[in-house]
């Protein structure tokens, strides 16, 4: 008996593309080299649609859809670049910068930060919202790594990589809305938590919120590319 693949045909930015049923708009766009900005998404992790930077327009619906968690359907017409989308993406970035204390010049991730890169890419020249300047703690209790809540954008990549890939589920989210915080275990100090010291969370963190103490200085690039490879190896086993 042959298994038939359910193929969907759709338009992304006027380009006719085909996809497998169940694929997200983001996956299909990537396969066809169509760029959609992302921040909380990372290849190799599940998607949660937290940052909303990947919003796209779908013909026939006035809502904006996050491409990372929206499945394709037959005859779908997707637009990834419009003035409205640009405005939304820029506003999201401004809100991220205004929410906590992102001081690029003295941040460990300066020059290697996905938030900073997106700001530059999307033409963010200034933040129109008043900065909140919250007083947030730094957890430096871990022997090797530091968590600086000032630089955290709540993308939850750390939570997902720890739960889904490492299987330790040390990280989680506490609180609601703007008061949400990343916590280790049941709000223990990181150094006293059940952390396995694998460092995956540090590598996938898009900003300077999680960093390696020994790498502080001019250059602290991160290497999240290990994830798809790791997944591939595990599938092969």
């Amino acid at each position: 008996m042959s298994t038939s693949v359910d193929v969907k045909t759709l338009l992304i930015d006027g380009q006719e593309v085909s996809a497998r049923s169940g694929q997200t708009i983001l996956e299909v766009a990537k396969e066809n080299d169509i760029y959609i900005p992302t921040l909380c998404h990372l290849d190799g992790l599940s998607d949660v649609g937290a940052c909303r930077l990947c919003v796209v327009e779908i013909k026939g619906n006035n809502k904006l859809f996050p491409a990372c968690v929206t499945s394709v359907f037959e005859g779908m017409e997707v637009t990834t670049v419009t003035e409205r989308l640009q405005k939304h993406r820029l506003t999201i970035l401004e809100m991220l910068f205004a929410e906590r204390n992102h001081i690029c010049s003295v941040c460990v991730a300066n020059g290697h930060c996905e938030l900073q890169t997106l700001g530059q890419e999307q033409g963010l020249t200034h933040v129109r919202l008043p900065y909140r300047n919250p007083e947030l703690p730094v957890d430096a209790s871990h022997e090797r790594f530091t968590l600086d809540h000032n630089r955290c954008i709540m993308c939850t990549r750390c939570v997902r990589v720890c739960a889904e890939i490492e299987g330790a589920h040390v990280w989680d989210v506490m609180g609601r809305g703007i008061d949400s915080m990343i916590i280790s275990d049941l709000h223990e100090e990181w150094g006293k938590s059940s952390c396995t010291r694998c460092g995956k969370c540090v590598q996938v963190c898009p900003t300077g919120a999680l960093f390696d103490k020994s790498k502080i200085g001019s250059d602290h690039p991160k290497y999240p590319d290990f994830l798809p490879n790791l997944n591939l190896m595990r599938e092969a086993q």
């Binding site: 703690p137 730094v138 430096a140 209790s141 530091t146 200085g217 001019s218 250059d219």
Partner: protein
């Protein structure tokens, strides 16, 4: 009627300050103050940050001498870590610090002070600036610009950035020196020698014409402090502090960064955000001292490099007994510092281990308190931190060169004002001389107060009744 002259802002300084000159009923100068008018608060807002972030955070205090802050801060962090950094890292940092000293001194001498020296204290203020210098004596202007570029380019080659390089970290530096970069620096050295020799020759020609200024530009007995090596040669990055008395006697020697707070206190005056450092055993203000190029050359027995040693012996001849007292000689000392810097950079580059790959020591928090010191271009810089067991800063204190020269600058301003302002009368040229006294010290006001805001300085003339009679703002 008594009055007050205000110079606000004082120009051609790094930072924002003003001078007030108080006159009595007879129109004679009674008092004069140099005010630094803004506060910045680096010590306070660094609380709660990880200690290993301090060098890059503290470097932001200043765009002229960030390297000094990087080094003093990294050394304070290394005291917390209790590590000795690799030899190569220490040498590379020494070179970085010297490169910064060269560029900062070039800025002070050529850009800020040479307009007074070349064009004259009374010359038209509209053209009394670096462009005026370039117009009147192009080779001097070019030499200054080239020396600044020399220093800045070395900083960029080593730290990948001209200003605020992140290369200096607690434990050493982030990457070793590549041989191509070493060769590039060596290639720049002959031109640097030619430029500083030109400047020294020119300075010696004009110095005598400034005899009246030399007489009253902060020309008084004081203590002097700076870093020296064990062999009593000048040092900018390591070594220990020596304090010399007004007659050349050694008052204190071998002061380490950890001992600094026991020896040096900081007084506060209501008219300035910059503190007034003093030698504790003598109290304030008797224990006030001077730091920077003049102090360094006074306390050192040698420069440790041949050509600068030649100049040092000429410098020492200025005073028959004891240290050189007039702050006008800061200019000369600065040029000798530059010459030494170039020679020393050349020597460091010939170190067989200079390309070694081992340039960083690592460690965690091993002490809850640490202090570091280095010579900034304008004098001794001291950083002192306390941390919790996780390495988060709980307290920080910085003692900046400008704070250590603060009392001398105030006394110098008073001395010059008393000499030049007669019967309550003054001209722009006279006020420029009062400002020029401050310029000899090359103070960095933004460093000293950790201030933000507009850059330049302002002079007021205040009556005995407290009325502002005259005010010069530029």
């Amino acid at each position: 009627m008594s009055q007050t002259i205000t110079i606000d802002p004082v120009t051609r300084l790094e930072g924002h300050g003003k001078i007030t000159i108080h006159l009595n009923d007879q129109g004679e100068v009674e008092n004069a103050n140099f005010h630094v008018t803004q506060v910045r608060g680096f010590e306070k807002f660094s609380e709660g940050r990880p200690f290993y972030e301090m060098p890059s955070l503290m470097a932001r205090i200043c765009g002229i001498c960030p390297v000094s802050h990087l080094i003093a801060s990294a050394k304070a962090c290394e005291a917390i870590m209790s590590v000795r950094i690799p030899h190569t890292a220490a040498q590379l940092r020494r070179m970085l610090n010297l490169a910064q000293m060269v560029q900062s001194h070039a800025l002070s001498f050529f850009y800020l002070s040479s307009p007074d020296l070349l064009l004259g204290m009374e010359s038209d203020p509209q053209t009394r600036h670096i462009f005026g210098v370039v117009g009147a004596k192009p080779e001097l202007g070019r030499a200054g610009i080239a020396l600044r570029r020399f220093g800045q380019h070395i900083i960029e080659l080593l730290g990948n950035k001209r200003i605020h390089p992140g290369w200096v970290v607690p434990g050493g530096v982030t990457e070793p020196l590549a041989s191509a970069k070493r060769d590039e620096i060596l290639g720049m050295i002959p031109e640097a020698y030619a430029n500083i020799e030109l400047a020294l020759r020119w300075y010696k020609q004009i110095a005598e014409t400034f005899a009246p200024e030399i007489e009253v530009f902060a020309n008084f007995a004081s203590l002097y402090m700076g870093l020296i090596n064990e062999d009593e040669s000048i040092e900018f990055t390591d070594g220990a502090l020596r304090l010399m008395g007004a007659r050349g006697e050694i008052v204190a020697d071998g002061i380490t960064a950890a001992q600094f707070p026991e020896v040096i206190g900081e007084a506060v005056e209501p008219y300035s955000y910059t503190k007034f450092a003093y030698y504790k055993p003598l109290g304030y203000p008797d224990g006030s001292y001077r730091v920077g190029p003049l102090a360094r050359l006074n306390i050192a027995k040698s420069m440790g490099t041949p050509m600068a040693d030649g100049e040092l012996s000429l410098f020492k001849q200025i005073s028959d007994d004891g240290p050189v007292q007039s702050s006008f000689y800061y200019h000369y000392a600065r040029l000798i510092d530059i010459l030494h810097g170039i020679e020393k950079i050349e020597m460091i580059l010939s170190d067989p281990l200079i390309l070694d790959k081992h340039v960083r020591a690592t460690a965690g928090v091993n002490r809850l308190e640490g202090a570091g010191q280095a010579e900034a271009p304008r004098g001794t810089l001291h950083h002192h931190y306390k941390v919790d067991e996780n390495g988060l800063i709980t307290w920080a204190n910085l003692v900046i060169a400008t704070g250590q020269n603060n009392n001398a600058m105030n006394k110098g301003v008073l001395q010059a004002a008393k000499h030049y302002v007669k019967d309550g009368k003054f001209t722009e040229g006279i006020l420029n001389r009062v400002e020029a006294v401050v310029r000899t010290f090359d103070p960095c006001l933004s460093c000293s107060t950790h201030a933000f805001g507009q850059m330049p300085l302002a002079i007021s003339l205040v009556s005995a009744e407290g009325e502002v009679v005259d005010r010069v703002v530029r």
